[in-house]
């Protein structure tokens, strides 16, 4: 809860002190707040500090801050902090933007820690509404406008679907509290004339479609490439990482609530996972735009994580956490480099990477490691994440794992485009890459998590 407060009030403060001023020091302030909140989450988890008073304000049937939630919140806060830090030089800079992002993060916190569908709904909306604005924050850019409108319309639409689903669930189970509605989904209040399982099943499908939209799982992913491409870079990476991870956490918690009737939904989730993995990887192969490619890549990753939704049993949330960390850091790394190159070349196709290895080899190396992590090649964190995921799923879902492996192989084809352009092509301009320290730090995180995952996981879980 403390993280929530700090983030929220930090955003408010930022909004007021920085009225009409545009300075990158705000970014440092904001990221400082976020790192602080991340740290506090971890500290609370380990019991180094106790904010029981704050916690007591929130009814436990509304939100819950167990150690799992705290770690997820810490992860999200940590990632957001890095996003803000890395994109200090964004051309759309402003304290209002930062504040919006932090508000959005508050929504993500709610999605992580909800115990009641109302909170989930509010979380989704608090997350989304600032994002609509952020997506369109490049006001003069027609692409940004288009992205915002698309995102908004489809987001609102999916909210409607989500709400219909929650209404059905409400009708089917009689509860909106997560704990209660999942207990015995089959017996519930008798509703005359309505086959209850149908209502519950439909409710589950509709609600999860609302969330699947957010994680951009096929066939609800169509917004993603367009919106990712049109939005300002910082917003894109925020959407690709924090939003996606939080939506997955929400989905995971929702679905594990209905773990008792897993057979009702495991089938179609599997199908969606397969479609998503294949679609994301295949469609990414022919893209020329970096952001679009990464959008498809994020779709593919959504497909992998859908496998986790299937295997989640309440004790292995750390897989999601680790995968989120690996994926998030690698995405931020690649997006940051691509963003900085964009600032030099005003080109967001792969051509921007041309000659990177010559002009700044260290950045090229960082790029390689980021890309390898996304592709899931040892010794990067991405590999370990995939390894955990696949090895846990092998037993029950071999076909999914095979698809995942196939997808990884397909993924190589486009991830290596980065390397191709950075190492093989000759570039005209030599881009100025700032923040090498941060990039190297990110690389180190990836490598540490890739080489010593057990140390990391044993510390936290």
């Amino acid at each position: 809860m403390i993280a929530f407060f700090i983030t929220f009030f930090g955003a408010v403060v930022l909004l007021f002190i920085g009225l009409n001023k545009r300075e990158s020091s705000f970014s440092i302030f904001a990221s400082g707040i976020l790192f602080l909140s991340a740290f506090l989450c971890v500290a609370t988890k380990f019991g180094w500090c106790n904010f029981g008073i704050l916690e007591s304000w929130v009814p436990t049937n509304m939100m819950q801050f167990g150690s799992e939630q705290l770690l997820f919140m810490g992860l999200l806060s940590f990632l957001t902090g890095f996003i803000i830090l890395c994109f200090r030089e964004s051309d759309i800079i402003g304290n209002d933007q930062l504040a919006l992002m932090m508000f959005s993060l508050c929504g993500a916190y709610m999605m992580v820690s909800y115990q009641h569908i109302v909170v989930l709904f509010l979380g989704i909306e608090v997350l989304s509404i600032p994002l609509y604005v952020l997506a369109g924050s490049n006001k003069e850019n027609i692409y940004s406008n288009e992205a915002a409108l698309k995102y908004f319309l489809m987001g609102a639409f999916s909210t409607g679907i989500f709400l219909l689903g929650s209404a059905f669930i409400y009708g089917g189970t009689g509860y909106l509290e997560l704990e209660l509605m999942g207990i015995k989904p089959s017996f519930m209040h008798a509703l005359e004339g309505m086959p209850i399982p149908v209502l519950i099943n439909a409710g589950i499908i509709l609600m999860s479609v609302g969330l699947l939209f957010k994680v951009s799982a096929a066939p609800f992913h169509f917004w993603a490439p367009d919106v990712y491409q049109g939005s300002p870079n910082r917003t894109t990476v925020f959407m690709a990482t924090v939003v996606k991870i939080s939506a997955f956490i929400a989905l995971y918690r929702l679905m594990s609530t209905f773990g008792g009737i897993k057979s009702n939904w495991s089938g179609w989730i599997s199908v969606l996972a397969i479609i998503t993995i294949l679609w994301g990887n295949l469609a990414a192969m022919i893209q020329q735009n970096v952001k679009r490619t990464l959008a498809y890549s994020s779709i593919a990753h959504a497909g992998y994580v859908l496998i986790f939704i299937l295997i989640a049993d309440g004790t292995n949330a750390w897989i999601l956490w680790f995968y989120g960390l690996a994926y998030g850091i690698a995405s931020i790394l690649v997006f940051t480099i691509s963003h900085q190159l964009y600032n030099t070349n005003k080109d967001d196709t792969f051509e921007a990477f041309n000659g990177l290895a010559k002009s700044s080899p260290i950045v090229a190396l960082a790029l390689v490691i980021g890309v390898l992590s996304l592709a899931g090649i040892p010794i990067s964190a991405g590999f370990v994440g995939k390894f955990y995921l696949f090895s846990f799923a092998w037993q029950s879902y071999p076909i999914l794992v095979c698809t995942g492996l196939l997808g990884s192989a397909l993924g190589v084809a486009y991830y290596f485009k980065f390397i191709k352009h950075a190492f093989l092509k000759v570039g005209e301009k030599s881009p100025v890459i700032k923040d090498r320290g941060i990039l190297i730090f990110l690389v180190l995180i990836i490598l540490m998590a890739g080489v010593f995952p057990w140390i990391l996981l044993r510390t936290f879980f």
Binding site: I377, F383, A409
Partner: protein, 479 residues
């Protein structure tokens, strides 16, 4: 542990120093692990077991970072750590990308040492993949417009194979009693024949692609041909040994029940590959391409030998692995020097190179003779044992595979003839000391093993015996 850390540190140093790197020093550094390998041999006991030298909890308490050593590993380590310094030395003529290539080669050395020492399945896989990355970048420095396509094909091929292996390993891992990737735990998993065939197929695929065996070879020729010399050397000299080593070390013990199923297929494919590579090599004009196909042919023979499951086949195969590494690196070194001196490696454009550089000529001849397995060069004992083992399996197949001794004479001598003999205007530029040193080491390897192959056989004999016992316990087919 040292054999992994030292090259890695050397790699970092080279990467940091960049153009200021002294190649002699890098070569010296990369040969340092040999000293430690020598020390490791003292840990061996008479049983020939695979003894863990380093062990630490890693990804989980049961997925450990375990480095182990036995004769088999020792042989591969010696091979790697002798050849890598030579590759580093040979790179001196490669002015532009030299420090980059050297750094990558050293990184590769660390990864390869890891592959050969890894006792934990996951670790093996990770090092396996890790070895792929530097070679990918090395091949990427090739010139030519198909560079990306070729490297991508290479990477995808091997990556798909590795993923299949990973899937199999995870499958085994999930069936272990203690959820461990440890070699012994994986081996202890009881599989029924169907499972075993599935698991075996996955593991085999990775190795078959890497070796490569016939239908999975189409990445090879282009990659060998287009890659820079050090890339070709690493690929042909050491990397494909990973596949053969893998078959022996990981496939045979982990899925012994499936060997009986795969044996005829593998031997059939290998023999087909022997002929296929040899026949194609007969008419190649590009020397590197020729060597690539000859390697396809030679290595397929090794694979066939391994799959005969006889002592001659396995130990002869191991011997030949070492030998092939020496020879192919020699051939690539020769071709590299020819190309650097004359600007071409197409046979029709060369000729008469023998006349001005005697040392080069002698070495080229020596390597060529080693490759065509003339007695008292290193190629002979291995090929003899392999053919003999194949004869024990099926005389007709041995006859077919034996055709390679005719074909290899034809294409290698053709290469020698068209490049070295006859009249020609081009000449080999004088050799530098590093090249002469590299030649000397390789020449020593060629002649020394030619006379004393038993040294290598003795090194691996006990380890092979243990593996053979496992196979026969599962099948009772070992002779």
């Amino acid at each position: 542990m040292e054999v992994i850390i030292i090259p890695f540190i050397a790699c970092l140093c080279v990467a940091i120093l960049g153009k200021r790197t002294n190649t002699w020093l890098s070569a010296l550094f990369s040969s340092l692990p040999l000293f430690f390998v020598y020390q490791y041999f003292e840990h061996l006991d008479s049983s020939g077991r695979w003894i863990a030298l380093f062990d630490h909890a890693w990804i989980s308490d049961n997925i450990r970072f375990t480095l182990a050593f036995d004769g088999l590993t020792g042989l591969m380590l010696i091979l790697t750590n002798i050849l890598v310094p030579i590759i580093v030395l040979a790179g001196i003529r490669n002015d532009e990308n030299q420090c980059k290539l050297t750094a990558l080669t050293l990184f590769m050395q660390a990864a390869l040492n890891g592959v050969f020492m890894a006792q934990d399945g996951l670790m093996f896989y990770i090092f396996w993949e890790l070895a792929l990355i530097p070679i990918y970048f090395i091949t990427l420095t090739m010139s030519g417009k198909f560079a990306f396509k070729i490297t991508l094909r290479f990477f995808l091929y091997t990556f798909v194979g590795s993923l299949a292996m990973l899937a199999s390993l995870i499958y085994l891992f999930l069936h272990t009693a203690d959820y461990s990737f440890d070699f012994e735990s994986l081996r202890a998993v009881e599989l029924n024949p169907t499972q075993s065939i599935g698991v075996g197929a996955g593991i085999l695929l990775a190795f078959l692609v890497k070796i490569p065996i016939l239908p999975f070879h189409s990445w090879q020729a282009d990659t060998y041909t287009e890659a820079p010399a050090s890339g070709s050397m690493l690929l042909g000299g050491i990397m494909l040994k990973m596949g053969l080593y893998g078959i022996l070390r990981w496939y045979f013990p982990l899925a012994p029940e499936s060997i009986a199923f795969f044996q005829p297929w593998m031997i059939g494919l290998s023999v087909a590959g022997v002929l296929y590579g040899a026949i194609i090599a007969l008419r190649q004009k590009d020397m590197k391409r020729l060597v690539a196909f000859s390697s396809l042919s030679h290595v397929a023979l090794i694979a066939a030998g391994l799959f005969t499951l006889s002592a001659e086949g396995i130990e002869g195969g191991l011997l030949q692995m070492f030998v092939h590494g020496v020879n192919i690196i020699g051939l690539f070194l020769v071709i590299e020097i020819i190309e650097k001196s004359t600007g071409t490696r197409v046979l029709g454009e060369l000729g008469g190179l023998a006349k001005n550089n005697r040392i080069f000529m002698v070495f080229f001849m020596l390597v060529a003779l080693g490759t065509i397995a003339v007695p008292f060069t290193n190629g002979f004992p291995g090929e003899f044992l392999l053919l003999k083992s194949l004869y024990g399996y099926n005389p007709n197949l041995a006859l077919l595979a034996g055709l390679t001794i005719i074909f290899s004479a034809v294409y290698i001598l053709r290469m020698v003839q068209f490049s070295m003999f006859g009249e020609g205007k081009k000449a080999i530029s004088p050799l530098s000391w590093n090249e002469i040193l590299a030649f000397a080491i390789l020449a020593f390897g060629i002649v020394g093993i030619g006379f004393m192959p038993q040294i290598i056989i003795d090194m691996v004999h006990k380890s092979v015996l243990i593996i053979a016992t496992w196979i026969s316990e599962a099948n009772g087919i070992l002779t």
